[in-house]
Symmetry: D3
Subunit: 336 residues, 6 copies
Amino acid sequence: MPHQLICDLKDGANVQQYFMMRQAQSGTTKAGKPFFNLVLGDKSGLIKAKVWSDVLSKCPGPFPTGNHFFVQGQVESYQGEAQLKVGYIISVEDLRAQGKDLRNYDPDLLCQATPYDRQELWQELWQLAAEEIRPPLRELVLKVLDRYGEEFQVCPAALRYHHPYLGGLLEHTWFVARHALASLNLYGDLNRDLVLAGAILHDLGKIKELANPPAPERTVPGQLLGHVVLGWEMVRSEAQALEFSDPTLLVQLEHIILSHHGSMEFGSPILPKTREALLVNFLDDLDAKLKMMSQHLESDTGEGDFTAYNRALQRDLYKGGSAAAGDPEPDREIEP
Amino acid sequence: MPHQLICDLKDGANVQQYFMMRQAQSGTTKAGKPFFNLVLGDKSGLIKAKVWSDVLSKCPGPFPTGNHFFVQGQVESYQGEAQLKVGYIISVEDLRAQGKDLRNYDPDLLCQATPYDRQELWQELWQLAAEEIRPPLRELVLKVLDRYGEEFQVCPAALRYHHPYLGGLLEHTWFVARHALASLNLYGDLNRDLVLAGAILHDLGKIKELANPPAPERTVPGQLLGHVVLGWEMVRSEAQALEFSDPTLLVQLEHIILSHHGSMEFGSPILPKTREALLVNFLDDLDAKLKMMSQHLESDTGEGDFTAYNRALQRDLYKGGSAAAGDPEPDREIEP
Amino acid sequence: MPHQLICDLKDGANVQQYFMMRQAQSGTTKAGKPFFNLVLGDKSGLIKAKVWSDVLSKCPGPFPTGNHFFVQGQVESYQGEAQLKVGYIISVEDLRAQGKDLRNYDPDLLCQATPYDRQELWQELWQLAAEEIRPPLRELVLKVLDRYGEEFQVCPAALRYHHPYLGGLLEHTWFVARHALASLNLYGDLNRDLVLAGAILHDLGKIKELANPPAPERTVPGQLLGHVVLGWEMVRSEAQALEFSDPTLLVQLEHIILSHHGSMEFGSPILPKTREALLVNFLDDLDAKLKMMSQHLESDTGEGDFTAYNRALQRDLYKGGSAAAGDPEPDREIEP
Amino acid sequence: MPHQLICDLKDGANVQQYFMMRQAQSGTTKAGKPFFNLVLGDKSGLIKAKVWSDVLSKCPGPFPTGNHFFVQGQVESYQGEAQLKVGYIISVEDLRAQGKDLRNYDPDLLCQATPYDRQELWQELWQLAAEEIRPPLRELVLKVLDRYGEEFQVCPAALRYHHPYLGGLLEHTWFVARHALASLNLYGDLNRDLVLAGAILHDLGKIKELANPPAPERTVPGQLLGHVVLGWEMVRSEAQALEFSDPTLLVQLEHIILSHHGSMEFGSPILPKTREALLVNFLDDLDAKLKMMSQHLESDTGEGDFTAYNRALQRDLYKGGSAAAGDPEPDREIEP
Amino acid sequence: MPHQLICDLKDGANVQQYFMMRQAQSGTTKAGKPFFNLVLGDKSGLIKAKVWSDVLSKCPGPFPTGNHFFVQGQVESYQGEAQLKVGYIISVEDLRAQGKDLRNYDPDLLCQATPYDRQELWQELWQLAAEEIRPPLRELVLKVLDRYGEEFQVCPAALRYHHPYLGGLLEHTWFVARHALASLNLYGDLNRDLVLAGAILHDLGKIKELANPPAPERTVPGQLLGHVVLGWEMVRSEAQALEFSDPTLLVQLEHIILSHHGSMEFGSPILPKTREALLVNFLDDLDAKLKMMSQHLESDTGEGDFTAYNRALQRDLYKGGSAAAGDPEPDREIEP
Amino acid sequence: MPHQLICDLKDGANVQQYFMMRQAQSGTTKAGKPFFNLVLGDKSGLIKAKVWSDVLSKCPGPFPTGNHFFVQGQVESYQGEAQLKVGYIISVEDLRAQGKDLRNYDPDLLCQATPYDRQELWQELWQLAAEEIRPPLRELVLKVLDRYGEEFQVCPAALRYHHPYLGGLLEHTWFVARHALASLNLYGDLNRDLVLAGAILHDLGKIKELANPPAPERTVPGQLLGHVVLGWEMVRSEAQALEFSDPTLLVQLEHIILSHHGSMEFGSPILPKTREALLVNFLDDLDAKLKMMSQHLESDTGEGDFTAYNRALQRDLYKGGSAAAGDPEPDREIEP
């Protein structure tokens, strides 16, 4: 039986396949019996699951986050939400230890990730920096990309709000940078190098804010300092190491990173005071919000013309809004 | 003596040329003598002027707003601001009546206007609608453009904040529409027709909000109703007259117009609830803010690395921000 | 057994009577059995109900919203709230098809509606317009009332917050208009015609915002455009059709409608800039808030001197506040 | 020459009459000469005045606030505002000491005051309390009115915002109380005694907040404690002295007074938690805002359809709004 | 078996001991059986408890709030929270009536209270007033302390937010007053008497706002008037009774009490306008927030470096923050 | 003639002494004559000065900021503010070049500075760090103090709001650190080292935000990045250089610095999430606000019980508040 994507699981469906463990919490029923609330994931999303005591007795766990499990069960609807009632659950490690057949096990299916080819995105982003930015910012940007390339290609863009999956940071950055390139055609008197460098590096601090990309969580420095200043410091250090030649240019790039949230209420310690900073701030916010809207539209399975209320967006959304929801391939051929 | 642009007038300069009257207010000096505070304009901006009582006795006025005047005088600095001390002032009408030589009188120099060729902008905007939007929205947009074309080409985009000059609405709309076209290359799953129609029509109501483009002022309906709803009603009426075939599409276009201020605090009665509306909202706001920044940077003549505080933007601006301030020709050849 | 009003149902009560279906959602118990969460209504309010799987097997539904059902069951208290445990449920259509006795079936009992006589309210409102408003606004108001009379008499005033029932708009408008009439005795220099026309028409757009009065829901235009601008456009169109003679008067009436929410945060695109608009804004807000308080006081069944916290009002209420909660007959005889 | 009202003084007018000194501040001209900036008042309003050094030499002052002066001078327009250039100024005391003729001196003309007959207002307010409120609140209200009657009849309602003149508190209270009476006809299930007592006593604390009614200023307790709590304590003390019999009723009246500003941001330590408190809060706010609007419309002498921006109201006002601005006699005969 | 503190109860523990009843609410299971949700308390905190129908049949209650009960049961984890499944429950009264052995019954263990010795705190607070404040404020403060001493020593500082237990007001006041004493060493030009009197009396009104200290609830005056003004009035009355000699000093003390919430949004009708008032405002807020943090840290039993989100503080907290959470003895020997 | 302090200069006084140039701006009178608006300073404050054209002709300047000048002139009152009418002005350099007698020239008198002995403050601050903080934070703090000691001792605490003078940062830091030491006596379970290190280093970034301490101005990095993050980076770099041994401790210190403004609206990118951070945030804010109040009280020279409105504090202040305004020596002997 081929893997059924979580986003396609319907009430009543039978499931016999692999999942990634995303959360696991034990509990006790009113009748005093132990059970487990799980959150299982695959590349298409998340689903809650219950392991009742009768199943627990033969499948006692443990259920460490990030590990892969084979699960048998049935999909139920609970309070309007799909939920998996687990009949059997065992970790891939245990299966392997028991010498079981893992033919259908495909780890690539289990991890939520950007729908785009990460290598292509990365190459294009790197090339954009190499071709469109002039020295001395070009060197700085490439140096940073090279140093943090590995993390940059897997880091999510956020824990929950937008692009909360493997490669999300890269996808988000690609869109912001490409959009910036297009905007510069119209607003040609802006400093092109600053805008592009800012667009590429604005969210760099996410790399230190978030850990464990397949099942992301915030780090202690991420929660006590925040990605805005962490990213700023990473760029500043790199420039220092490079003995960056133009301090006036550098401080403007630093300003773009620090001010990219656009207002102090949203965690930037300073407002954008250059047009370059304003542009990056807008394109970042726009891409994040468009994605949040897409995500909310996709996740809404209810009837009616409007989604449920979305807290982060502080509104409900019209579901008839676009020809097609989802994330189509952007036109990658065009030279904007 | 050729016309000296107001933006180039320096302390001590002698002036012998034509201006448009933008404001005139009589007063009395501490010593009890009458005088006039004027605001004079040409295509490059505005300058305050004083007509003291000794001059008034030979040049008694009147000084109706919007009329053209020949002025002799000297530029002074008053509280850090250039000001014209008028030595002689007479209206073009009076000069003409006296059969005077008006050889140097060039009305085109006296009116603040978009730096772009309005006809070109208009043609390009019209073409964008004609070529990029599909029926049935194409018909609606072209019908609206045709009906309001004359006003659309002269109306300012605002009284003060951004593009506050003849053709400002057209310039602003051109940038928003072209930017939208570029953005659609990236966000290809948005409804292209809605985005472009919304981008072109979002500020249509300015035409009824503002009167007298060369020396703009708000109309009574503009102040009691506002351009957001006025523009919505103009499009809705036009669609009704056209017996627009797709009510679901129409209500989404109407939604884009009503929600384009992005939040209720800023005068939209509704938040953007589609991604198309969100995109138009962002591109509109971005163009307006970038222009406000450019205008503030250009008008700042002080020393130091930062401008004076700008109330509307709620910040001061860094003056070293771009290679060159001002409004360079955007790259008009490119096909984004 | 006569109909017991929902507001009077107490823990333990046996129920054998008709209800209107207001909501129906299927679910699955922890033990994997299907059930239905219903919301049933009658003229006195709403009650949640459960149909467990054993009952479902003999009463499989469907349970379409707005339809009438005969229900047997028992009232339980669940988390401090009354809830009906359904023993048997069948639609009136099915009963009729089975040729069953429908003697006790009284559809008038099943629909939540204004406690006042709608015909009387309507007649008085119409008369108020006819007698107290002078031409040319009199003609406009009466024309609008005549055209939308049917919907006006059944439309709720809101989905949830205040007067959320059949005839709610009429009841609310009657109170605001009568209050306005009384206020004009004190503030005699206001434009009487504008205040009364504004009071009567301020919420007209609700007719297009809300559909299906007995079980109300928001329309797509209602959610994408909002009742404030919809009502404005309805009046403006009507005036245009009438070739309304006094544009200055008309724009002030339009202003009252657009600004009646009193602030931009609350969805008016413009602030009240006339005293007439301010008065209508206050009387509308006051009637809505007093009604919300009454509704909250009535619905609170807990002990103690204060109600639970009310989100919309952002406060709890003192329950000892009035001689008697509820909606007594206002003094209809008086000529204010 | 009869007294010309300040509100009627026009540019160029000659003045020979009495004024009340409202403010006096000495200064030095750029040329080093002393002068005085005065604010003079009569019953119709305030006017700024200048006493230059040549006049000062013969009219050296002093110019104590609240005193009456005979002034000769000429009205000028300074920055669009009428201003009196003083030619001669002498106090009534000095004139009297010099045995001068004071035939034209009428102190009643010099003090800004409510346009209504204060005795009539007072009598009607007292009667309203005596006839419309039932015991035990009747006794409490009358006791308070009797004890503070003298101050109540002269106190302004505010220093600047609304009714800032002799008798302003009484006028404001009369309107709020009469409006409350009318509102109770519609909202008949409210506690009538509480609403009326609250309406009459809500601003009682102004009496301790403001001193010197003809030329009002804030007291130290007024600025350190505020009228809201001062008025509450005055009523509470009086009730204690009366051994008020119904503590539940009393605490609700106290609540109305403390919450009458309607929100904590506006200085009420508590939100209105009863419908009675909400009604008084709305009628108070409405009367204050309508008056502020009237005052602003009256004081605006500029051209155009809209007034200048009013800070307290945070808007400009439409000047074509009412048949007639100003304060017509409310219909005092009617029994609402 | 000695009393196990609630804060130490772990999943699976058996319990045979006394508790205070803090809340009791009856319910019905899905299967239609009655049960009780209880909240039980001891000196270390609160725990939820369930009494299912089988137990109820032999232990029918009633369960009045504030009474003491002997309970047998077992601790379970429900949704991550410890909960007691009651096997047997009987009131101390019934045990006594049955002549049962109450050897292990220690009422002192059952009431949540300040960890400090209340008598010591009280003595030190009184002494601080007696030794550090000079006349005439000394007399006033001591008079107030003496009159309200009994309530002051048991009253909580709040219902929920901080120090929500017996003696909480005293503990909070002790810290604020001692901190004020230390601060005065640095800010020596402040009026020492005012600061100390204000620190001691700022929350006096809690005594009238909250009733029944062992199981606190808000009074009607507390909810309709609030502790800020209640406390102010208590001090003002006392001063009046004392014929307090210095009205200027008194009004400043009154101002400190009224303004101690620091802003109008937080319920002070006036902002601190003296440095003394500002200091008391800060020290009060600081002690409350530090305590809220301590309480939240202590109550958090989850894993991870950060607590759950705390609504009142609007943040989550870092759990590695201090050497040790909890409430150590402050250094009581030191003379700050 | 000895130096008269600016704060003591009264209307009419003759002046013959030295000042520091703080600002200089040229202008033209209405009569077309050039003049200079100056701001002159000494250790006690600032005074505006005018150099009219007749004086300019003999004293042509230039007037570079920060330089010292000898000035003859007379104090006038202009719009209620003291102003110096300059009769003669010459720079100390020119005097020296002319070989003039500079006997009365004392540069120490000309610079606004903390009233405390900077060396003593510095020594005590250093000692506090050395004695009260334990390793490893002790080393880090001392290392930072040593490296930035020179700037730390002269830097102002702000440009305008509080301690805007030479040594202001040191004075402010001394108070916050000493206050923290005292607070730790009460809140003994806080991490003492973190609190003290945070108190000492919280405003370190001011050193890079502000330049030219005697006549301070903001730097470009100061305006584009802000002192909050600049200070954080300075400490972080230093710790890196030191190979600081305890990363968990370090990140908490960094958190204190980044969060010390207490809220995002005030420019901290993160809220205080530890009690240590909260304490430093409060003590910093308290010292700044107390100082702002003192400064405003001192600068107010008007009559009446209340100062003029202070924008930064958003209130007026009571002037009878303290025994004595001003900055008395804090009790330096005490061991808190």
